[in-house]
Symmetry: D2
Subunit: 247 residues, 4 copies
């Protein structure tokens, strides 16, 4: 049975997505989706070298054909009757901090395209696999988890591009939680409220000491915890921030 | 001076948009935007017959060329240096209540396109005119008002298509309120939480008595009230519902 | 009929309460409640001198006997069958900004006592009069309006004393809106998010220019607007802040 | 060091409090607070019999002398320099569903007294011990966790008594999270949105199947998970509900 259950992570890279994939790889074969193969190749190798199982599929999450192709590859690899124990949507539109009147229409549309249409396509592609996971009686309720941000609940000046997509994605996750919870799928949304500690942010917030940034491994642990909640005790939303973060 | 200040309403028809246009026409020339001319022709005639001034422009609010063309026509009609005292975004993506796995991608995209990209294009087109209104010292702070719904704050099962757009639009309005409030433009968002009393809903909620539906004229009064708030006392958000509505 | 309808304002002084009383006095006899007669005497005189009608009653809003006594005096003055067109709760517990471990228990209890128990007693005392106002077919739906603050929706560090009371008061107003709306009473809550322009705050925020503080007259206009909403279009909550306020 | 760190649970009984105490007893000596010794005696015996350590102290959480006495007993038992690894506030004012005009003042005050003043006194009593836990370098950040309910975020008709207390408690927890997070104490709030499966609710919701009620052990696992989050990844708030719950 277990061999029929996989985890799918969209938006992998050096931060949350990568750590989540590593965490879930300890129990499930994982499928890594990213547009750029460079973002999953090292990670897939790491997981496979450790004795886990991972495949990467180059996917444009905002393109329905690309997402359909990913599902086909998943079924070719794991069988037509594969189920998912977890699907994590960690992709995000561009973080464009700009005076509103200077935001190019294409940038606005492109950001929404990943955050919202990407979230839509990923959900429509993975929910049938998650429902299959329910049928296969996965040990933990199959889980669809979305990564949010501060901008999922607060829309600051000059942040409209990013925030519109993040609010919409939160709405998507809430609607799906209400529709698919009673069918046994656990839909959750995590508000990551702070800077994540990745190579790119190495020099950020140094003045606040060594604990000022969110640990990606910590986030992965929290996603795993959400995943292991029983069907009687589902959490839809958590917030996550460093203790020293102002909010 | 007053002749240089207009009101622009996107999304007119027999409900909120029409009543708002009539209300604002008592003080300003109004520009009526709708894709289908049938939606503004009668209204424009009614306003002009009453001694007000109204023009309609057929506009696809989700298409940037169409929106740009509307602005050109406005400037042709009212002068290159026209300012806006009010801009009301009352357009909405389709209200598609459907099991999520049955929502066609095109329907999802089309709904977002009106609610979010439409809101974006309308805001980028009208904010320069509203800022011009500030410069022209309009009697009331120039106002950019967005029409929301129950689904702007609650994303129910099978409502993801409509709710994603409405949450995103609310995020847009909040970001714009924070950016343009300090520049003198009053950005507001109204959560219409109930059924509006229009010909199409004539037979709805009869069992709840004669006051179970929102009056479009009442909504228009509320938008006007928002418009007249001084720069020291801006409201970003109001909710509106019939007294008998359950919430 | 009109002579049977009064407005009652708890918590009058040089700011919101006083301006609201003056505004409502243009249509209704007003009853001014404050613990200290100095807070209503000048105001009552001003209203009576202008040809309106006002009486002040020294009332400890957190003491049930004192509130009962106020109701008795109201009935003695206006008749046993008097109705209320409006009741405004503008009293507030102390604004104690202090490290939590240094907050004296008595200060915490005293603050709650005004904000929450005061709100409770005022509502239990005035709702029968407001329901009587419904019976008397007051022109505008009888209104019970609560004054909130930034701390009604955000509970900052070192603000627990004030915020607990304000959150509780908001909860009270929401529950009452749901219970008494269907009976024709309009219950509303206003989040005053900024500094109010009163003598005591004369020197605050000067660096932000002449419009950085909320005008009490503006707030009074907004309360009046809430009061005039028809039964088909009730607003439960508005926020109010200066355009330049950061939020 | 570990022997110097305890867990304190206020409001134990057959549901959440009891399960949380059992869970935390696997690592820490636990102190059980309840007014009625019957509510902790069996539980203390069960923990002690299993090789853990538990003491019960009869405490009226809304009475400052009673709470001070509890702290004295804790120090007598565990030493003057005892620290706390966790403090759980699970007490609650009465759940009085009643038409507002029929709520007796005493019932309203009594409910607030437990929820809000109780939360205040418990926090003031335990925070010094939690800060001591930080000093003692407890393995997991010392945690102060509050049990909320549906009524912590929604104030329904006829629920004002319970909801005012729960909203205030949520405000308290948010303010404390902001003040004490930077000092290393993890303050969290759990919204329990559904019926908890305890003897008293045995016959509730049978029509919804075997998974319609929250498992107290599940809640205890979630509190434990919150407790183990590192200082870089604190969650302030989670919601918890059965998958089939409508929300």
């Amino acid at each position: 049975m277990a061999s029929k259950l996989i985890a799918i992570v969209a938006g992998v890279g050096p931060g949350t997505g990568g750590s989540v994939a590593l965490k879930f790889a300890s129990k499930y074969p994982v499928v890594l989706l990213a547009r750029n193969p460079e973002n999953y190749q090292g990670l897939a190798k790491e997981i496979n070298d450790k004795g886990g199982k991972a495949i990467g599929i180059s996917t444009d999450i905002s393109d329905s054909n690309s997402v359909k192709n990913a599902v086909s590859q998943i079924k070719n690899e794991f069988g037509q009757d594969v189920g998912a124990a977890a699907a994590i949507f960690n992709a995000s539109g561009g973080f464009l901090r700009k005076s509103f009147l200077e935001v190019p229409e294409e940038a606005f549309r492109a950001s929404l395209d990943v955050s919202v249409n990407g979230g839509f396509l990923f959900s429509q592609a993975t929910l049938p696999l998650l429902l299959k996971g329910v049928e296969l009686k996965s040990e933990h309720p199959p889980s669809l988890i979305f990564t949010g941000a501060t901008a999922s609940v607060k829309s600051n000046a000059r942040m409209a591009t990013f925030a519109t997509g993040k609010w919409a994605l939160r709405a998507l996750s809430q609607s799906l939680a209400r529709e698919f919870g009673p069918q046994g799928v656990h839909v959750a949304h995590a508000i990551i409220d702070g800077v994540i500690d990745i190579p790119r942010t190495k020099d950020f917030l140094k003045e606040l000491g060594p604990n000022a940034k969110l640990s990606p491994e910590g986030i992965a642990n929290d996603y795993w915890w959400l995943h292991t909640q029983p069907v009687t005790n589902f959490t839809w939303e958590i917030d996550l921030r460093p203790a020293v973060e102002k909010w």
